[in-house]
């Protein structure tokens, strides 16, 4: 399997402020790498550096097996890349078809204008100017244009921002199809559900550092606890004394326990309180893992191991 992306010890600082601090990443063909991080974590700088929009201070970048220096990216390489940036707009006065026609001319072996319109699902808006499209339609067109050259490596920076649920799920489907076709995808997103749905691997970026890497299930496993939810007559203090309980929280009647050994906790709970209702045991959601990773910098060492 071809290695689509390799990043070694990437550093970038702006006016003395470190934005990327020794980032290491790898991505193979046919995989989706999701870069997660809170606002200001360095996600867009990372993408911009990989694409050559800004130069790295140090470190190595290999795209589709070729080393990249500074901000120069060869035209041959750009033929094989697809990009959808977070701040991306097109000429407001050109129609959907015209934008597709223009973009398809850039690529030697890409989609035709009509195919791009269909890929965007905007056949009914062919003559509509970009400036008059809805936010979701604009995103769909930008996504289609990112695929104009049938790329081997695609960068998607917050691709579903502003999309409705239906359009978002359609785009997820397209990303899954790309993966099946052997395309490597680097995706940044705020939507953890999106990462969970699409990512083969997730890199959590926090203050310019990768604080955790792995598949969604590996990241969740890092938490080493499960969530027990129930309604019980026990007080918080009594619940906290149950075996393996790490944390107790309550929202009206619903109690949430974080437990290292959910089975032990549940058994003990049922022995003490036979009137427990609505009992359920869940693995940690990616959202909780993400919050935990980005709010506990000390966990960095633990996760990197």
């Amino acid at each position: 399997m071809m290695r689509a992306l390799t990043v070694n010890n990437l550093h970038k600082a702006y006016a003395g402020t470190t934005v990327l601090a020794g980032v290491d990443l790898t991505l193979d063909a046919g995989e989706v790498l999701c870069v997660l991080g809170p606002n200001g974590a360095g996600k867009t700088t990372l993408i911009s550096t990989l694409l050559g929009l800004v130069s790295a201070d140090s470190g190595e970048i290999h795209l589709l097996g070729k080393p990249q220096l500074g901000t120069r990216r060869s035209q041959a390489l750009r033929q094989q890349l697809g990009v959808m940036m977070q701040i991306g707009s097109l000429s407001a006065n050109l129609s959907v078809y015209e934008q597709c026609d223009l973009f398809s001319s850039y690529y030697a072996q890409g989609y035709s204008a009509a195919e791009l319109v269909a890929l965007a699902g905007l056949e009914a808006q062919t003559k509509q100017r970009f400036g008059r499209l809805s936010g979701g339609q604009k995103q769909r067109l930008l996504f289609a244009l990112a695929l104009a050259g049938k790329p081997q490596l695609v960068f998607l920076d917050e691709p579903t921002l502003g999309m409705d649920v239906e359009a978002r799920q359609a785009l997820w489907q397209q990303v899954k199809q790309l993966r099946q076709q052997g395309v490597a995808v680097v995706l940044t997103t705020h939507y953890l559900e999106e990462a969970e749905q699409l990512a083969d691997s997730i890199a959590v970026l926090h203050q310019g550092e990768i604080v955790a890497k792995g598949s969604p299930s590996e990241l969740k496993a890092l938490m080493q606890y499960k969530v027990v939810r129930c309604c019980s007559r026990l007080t918080d203090a009594e619940l906290a004394l149950l075996p393996a309980v790490l944390q107790v929280s309550r929202e009206q009647q619903l109690i949430t326990l974080h437990s290292r050994h959910a089975e032990q906790t549940v058994l003990a709970l049922l022995q003490i309180d036979q009137w427990v209702t609505d009992l359920e045991v869940r693995p940690v959601a990616l959202e909780q893992a993400f919050l935990h990773l980005t709010q506990n910098p000390t966990l960095h060492q633990e996760c990197a191991a």
Binding site: V54, R73, R78, L81, S91, E98, G149
Partner: protein, 247 residues
Amino acid sequence: MNTALIYRKEAWYDLISIWRTPGFVIPSLVFPIVFYLFFGVMFNRGGASVYMLVTYGCFGIMGPAMFNFAMNIASDRAHGWLTLKRLSPMPVPAYLLAKFITALMFSLVIIGLLFTLAALFAGVRLAASQWVLLAGILLLGTLPFALIGLILGLTLSDKAAPAVVNLVYLPMALLSGLWLPVNMLPALLQQASWIWPSYHLSQVGLKVIGMDQGYALWIHLSALTFSSLLLAMIAYWAFQRLGAAKA
């Protein structure tokens, strides 16, 4: 990849995109025509219509060149359109050349309208070679102003660009003698007129009809060449700076 096709499509789509912007098209075409109609046709005194054909011709071609580059490039930068293009395999010169061709097209239309007005309503009579030479000079003269626009577009925000272009365009037109002859300006401003490419362009044009200030042609051509080279270097620096800027 068909490079010629990319250049052609960039030029075509840039042109129709601008053409669909009435806020740009109407002032670009109307201002020089209305000014010429007013001062060159209605108040035509002692050969003023011939003189103003050249000076308003210069004024007319400067506007679209500066505004098209400055406002559209600043806007393309602000909205990520230029970034998207730079990341695609599109050759950057195709983007810049498209804007220049658009500016040339506007220049051609303005020259055509001014020449028609001058011939039909102001009684301007020139030899065929003079009409052709004058049109060629005005078309070529678009270059330094396009470069000024390019520099402004690469360095200013989309909100600041229109205001700054006006701040450059209108005083430059006045101080170059495009609205009234240079010798009617105060002495200090007459000397300062030499720094403007628009002054030298108008003098080259006025030489065709024998109404220039009498300096040697090579001085004006050298000044235009030098200013174009200098502006091109600054534009190149500004473009390189884009790559180093924070994304």
